[in-house]
């Protein structure tokens, strides 16, 4: 199927999981993702994300917050990768420190962004997904 000129052409319906304990961020990221055609689910910490995958769920894209109660982003990412999950996992952090970002990447992220995400970032993620699942 030929892609049209627009970079936000949806080739297929992608699913996304927002993992964040901040209600404001949850609402904003869900809105962005829905606007770009994703089917979005939201959970409040890393353990809920891992449990979802354990129960057989799959998401093309996971937006993983770094700091969360119960199970934080790095730990959840490590667990998911350890389970063989190869979804695109993107870290979302409000931490200014480079070392924290590096450590988070080291847990198995595909990329890491400052929160809140912007329309440009989502567009670029969508492009990457289109290529990955061509």
């Amino acid at each position: 199927m030929k892609k049209s000129g627009s970079s936000t052409t949806i080739v297929k319906k992608f699913s996304a999981l927002v993992v964040d304990d901040d209600l404001v961020i949850q609402r904003i990221h869900k809105m962005y993702l829905n606007r770009f055609g994703f089917e979005t689910q939201v959970v409040g910490n890393g353990k809920e994300a891992v449990d979802l995958y354990r129960s057989g769920a799959f998401f093309h894209l996971v937006l993983m917050d770094m700091e969360m109660p119960v199970m934080d982003g790095p730990k959840a990412t490590r667990e998911l990768r350890g389970m063989g999950v190869n979804s695109m996992i993107v870290g979302v952090t409000s931490q200014d420190g480079d070392s924290e970002k590096q450590a988070f990447m080291g847990a198995g992220l595909d990329d890491c962004y400052m929160k809140p995400l912007t329309a440009d970032t989502i567009t670029s993620l969508l492009q990457q997904l289109n290529m990955k699942y061509r």
Binding site: V24, R27, I28, M31, Y32, R35, S94, K115, P116
Partner: protein, 146 residues
């Protein structure tokens, strides 16, 4: 007809002043762009969530700073949360107040923290007032048929 035009101008001028005075930054514009007919209340919803969350965090902060032995890590965590959510709706001045606050936490300076908390409360109140006024103006414009 005049009424709508006047309301439109008042809203536009007020909005501009909020950006000029640093109350709001580009993130708020992004939020407004996300709103559409299928989610006409999106911005109000998100801002209300922010108000609820902030109120909770401010009261937790006050409690934490009243303790005999202040847990600065806890205080810092609350401020960090507030910084995150204020930046996500574009509440620039609140976000900046959080940044200063965290410096005093790092220094474990109680006096400084208490002063910052007061400043944070002030900035938050101002922000809340400004946003409520903005929404009221928008509502008036809608009702006038604009």
């Amino acid at each position: 007809m005049d009424g709508v035009a006047q309301l439109k101008k008042r809203l536009a001028d007020y909005t501009t002043s909020l950006y000029d005075e640093g109350y709001l930054d580009d993130q708020f514009v992004q939020l407004q762009q996300l709103q559409d007919e299928s989610n006409p209340e999106f911005v109000v919803e998100v801002v209300s969530l922010f108000f609820q969350d902030s109120q909770r965090l401010l009261s937790e902060l006050a409690k934490a700073l009243e303790q005999q032995s202040v847990d600065f890590r806890k205080v810092d965590a609350y401020v960090h949360q507030l910084k995150g959510s204020s930046s996500s709706i574009g509440a620039q001045r609140v976000q900046r107040a959080c940044i200063s606050f965290r410096n005093y936490c790092d220094d474990q300076n109680i006096e400084g923290c208490l002063k910052c908390l007061q400043q944070l409360k002030n900035e938050y109140s101002l922000m809340k007032n400004k946003l409520e006024t903005l929404f009221k103006l928008e509502q008036q414009l809608l009702e006038a048929g604009g």
